[in-house]
């Protein structure tokens, strides 16, 4: 087959899988806790800066993963304790509060690293022959890692004890509390998992994009689109949202140009809000 078509097809798979991982943290925080986390992109940004710090200190790239998890869990726990805990029943207040948080985090990043661009070296440089076409190794690896992360989370959420406690909490918090589940602690832990997933996504994309304080803005809107189109609170919703948003954008960008791809994403989001506001996979 024509290598152009093969490469564009891999691009579509790449776009969908990276978008699923980028939206994953928000899917947890917004989808399960109902917190409209506008600062989602800033946690991705923090992950990317952790990758930058790792590289500039000369540590191996994988050190960025525990570093990010440590930073994002501490920060996530603090934010949940100081701010989010008081706002669980008030979605609009979470939106305003996390918007303020996003400004603060951006300014903190600027204070530490300056407003300029930073670049992170690709840990696996070069291209490899794949399905008859040369494709960057690191991007292929990201596809694999994305699928792995999403699958692990699906299995854990579906099979583990904590997963079933979270499901109980999401479906009926009072009843879960009555059953002896510490809803307060569980919600805090869920929030921290969400911020850690965002940070992890930041480590993954850091070598591909400009690392700067504003980079989070690129991801937050698209992540919300994924959840709106896919539907909240389920992995199938997240995946179908990523397939529709990432897939349409990538296919239309490949067939025509990037402006049409972006336009298609906006039209899709509007159509879904209008005709199917609960998304593709509506939770019961």
């Amino acid at each position: 087959m024509d290598p152009l078509i093969v490469t564009q097809a891999i691009n579509v798979v790449y776009a969908v899988s990276i978008l699923a991982v980028l939206a994953l943290g928000l899917a947890v925080i917004f989808g399960l806790l109902g917190v409209l986390n506008i600062a989602h992109g800033e946690f991705i940004m923090i992950g990317a800066y952790c990758a930058y710090v790792t590289e500039s200190r000369g540590w191996p790239y994988l050190v960025a993963v525990p570093l990010t998890l440590a930073v994002c869990s501490l920060l996530g726990a603090a934010v949940e304790w100081i701010m989010i805990r008081r706002l669980y029943r008030r979605p609009f207040d979470t939106l305003v509060a996390t918007w303020g948080l996003s400004l603060l985090l951006r300014k903190i990043a600027e204070a530490f690293f300056g407003p300029g661009f930073r670049s992170v070296t690709i840990p696996l440089p070069g291209t490899i022959k794949f399905l008859g076409t040369e494709y960057p190794i690191y991007r292929l690896m990201l596809i694999v890692v994305s699928l792995a992360v999403v699958s692990v989370l699906v299995i854990w959420y579906g099979r583990s004890r904590t997963g079933s406690r979270i499901r109980a909490m999401v479906n009926n918090p009072e009843l879960a509390q009555a059953q002896g589940i510490s809803v307060r602690r569980l919600a805090a832990a869920t929030f921290v998992v969400g911020t850690c997933l965002a940070g992890f996504a930041g480590v993954m994309v850091a070598p591909l994009v400009p690392v700067q304080p504003f980079m989070g803005l690129d991801y937050v809107l698209r992540s919300f689109f994924v959840l709106i189109v896919g539907g909240l609170g389920s992995v199938s919703g997240l995946l179908s949202g990523a397939v529709v948003i990432g897939g349409f954008d990538s296919v239309i960008s490949a067939v025509t140009d990037a402006a049409n791809g972006y336009f298609a994403v906006l039209v899709l989001a509007i159509l879904f809000l209008w005709l199917r506001p609960r998304g593709i996979v509506a939770r019961a």
Partner: protein, 395 residues
């Protein structure tokens, strides 16, 4: 505690989320106290939003120039007071700030380092009542009343660099990629003329939405299939970094040269050493210019700002030239009257970071440097001296 989400819909969520993001770029204004006898310059630079990374060096360079002018008696005996104002938000916001500066502060002159959309809004607001000096690289052709442009034009960037690539590198085919707004479109329209003049042809031309979260896998795959000799890049900021990293990531940097028209020191830092092979930039200034004038300028800059000095680049130093040219212009015209200033601007000589410059037709002819990137450094391979702006205003 309940984790329920009753009482709001995704519809309202999206609306509020979009409003929240829009608020994120709202400008912050500075309100300095009025003082008599000062020569007030409204300095429009990006202080918020993604372009704000160019703000610190622009402000620092303008302040350095103002210090130097003030040490020698200011403008017409009045010390310069810079009113740094945000131009990083929507053009309408900058226009509102300009109205306020004119009415409340009685600003004597405006200097702007921002995009062309904001320039058009400011020109329509200021209406030539006071001089307006527009400093950055731009598409040329700005000839409104009492407006003066200092930046690189397509005739200065595209003509010599494409000529050089056609001669030295035997480049024949070109692919144009830019952000979708006025500067890339007009620059590429000019570039296409020079490509045709050099005997080359354009195999593709496309634009990505400006300000959108762009990704470039699809574009790069298309370029790979088109196999041009040169990719001409008029992307700015993060898009420029993103494209170049994706381009090199797909391994295209080995066989295809890239020529970028807004690639300065900050952007090259983002592109990074492993993605900058075979990448060219053509600008009127690079911070590592070894000339005596630049060495002196950098020493003064360093002395003023110390180790925390923002990275120098052609955009930042254009604000230095902006203040210096304002000094000469108003001194020669003995005031800020539009007709007198326009007359005085012809042949006006003023200092820049890289030596003296002369204004012709309210544009500036200048030396241009074509650099090949070596890691995150610009390595000048060819200097074109005294390149005409090619867009001199008639009157």
């Amino acid at each position: 505690m309940a984790i329920e989400k009753k009482g709001f819909t995704r519809r309202t969520i999206l609306g509020t989320a979009a409003a929240g993001l829009a608020l994120g770029t709202a400008p912050s204004l500075i309100r300095p106290a009025a003082a008599a006898g000062e020569f007030k310059i409204g300095l429009f630079i990006p202080l918020s939003g993604p372009a704000s990374l160019f703000g610190p060096s622009s402000q620092a360079c303008a302040e350095l120039a103002a210090d130097e002018v003030n040490k020698n008696g200011g403008i017409l005996g009045r010390p310069i007071k810079l009113l740094a104002t945000d131009a990083g938000g929507p053009p309408a916001e900058s226009a509102k700030s300009a109205v306020r500066l004119m009415l409340e502060e009685k600003a004597d002159l405006f200097i702007g380092m921002h995009d062309s959309a904001t320039r058009e809004a400011l020109v329509a607001t200021i209406k030539g009542k006071v001089p307006y000096i527009y400093t950055p690289v731009y598409e040329g052709g700005e000839c409104d009343f009492n407006v003066y442009s200092l930046g690189e034009t397509p005739n200065q960037q595209a003509r010599p660099s494409i000529g050089w690539l056609a001669g030295e590198q035997k480049a024949k085919t070109y692919y144009l990629i830019g952000d979708d707004y006025v500067w890339p479109h007009k620059t590429n329209a000019e570039a296409k003329k020079y490509i045709a003049e050099s005997g080359g042809s354009v195999t593709g031309e496309e634009y990505v939405p400006f300000g959108a979260p762009n990704k470039f896998e699809e574009v790069v795959t298309r370029i790979k299939s088109a196999k041009p000799d040169v990719v001409v890049i008029t992307l700015v900021g993060a898009d420029n970094v993103n494209f170049n990293r994706t381009f090199a990531g797909f391994g295209l940097d080995k066989d295809i040269a890239r020529l970028a028209f807004l690639l300065e020191e900050n952007t090259l830092m983002g592109v990074g050493a492993e993605s900058s092979a075979n990448l060219y930039s053509c600008m009127g200034y690079f911070a590592n210019d070894p000339s005596a004038a630049n060495t002196k300028f950098k020493a003064a800059y360093q002395a003023k700002l110390g180790d925390k000095a923002p990275l120098l680049n052609t955009l930042g130093i254009s604000c230095y030239a902006g203040v210096k040219s304002a000094h000469q212009l108003v001194t020669k015209a003995e005031g800020t009257d539009g007709k007198k200033c326009m007359a005085a601007s012809e042949g006006l000589t003023f200092e820049t970071a890289s030596g003296p410059a002369t204004m012709h037709g309210r544009q500036v002819d200048k030396a241009m440097f074509l650099a090949n990137c070596k890691g995150t450094q610009f390595n000048v391979v060819k200097t074109f001296s005294d390149v005409k702006s090619g867009s001199e205003c008639k009157a």
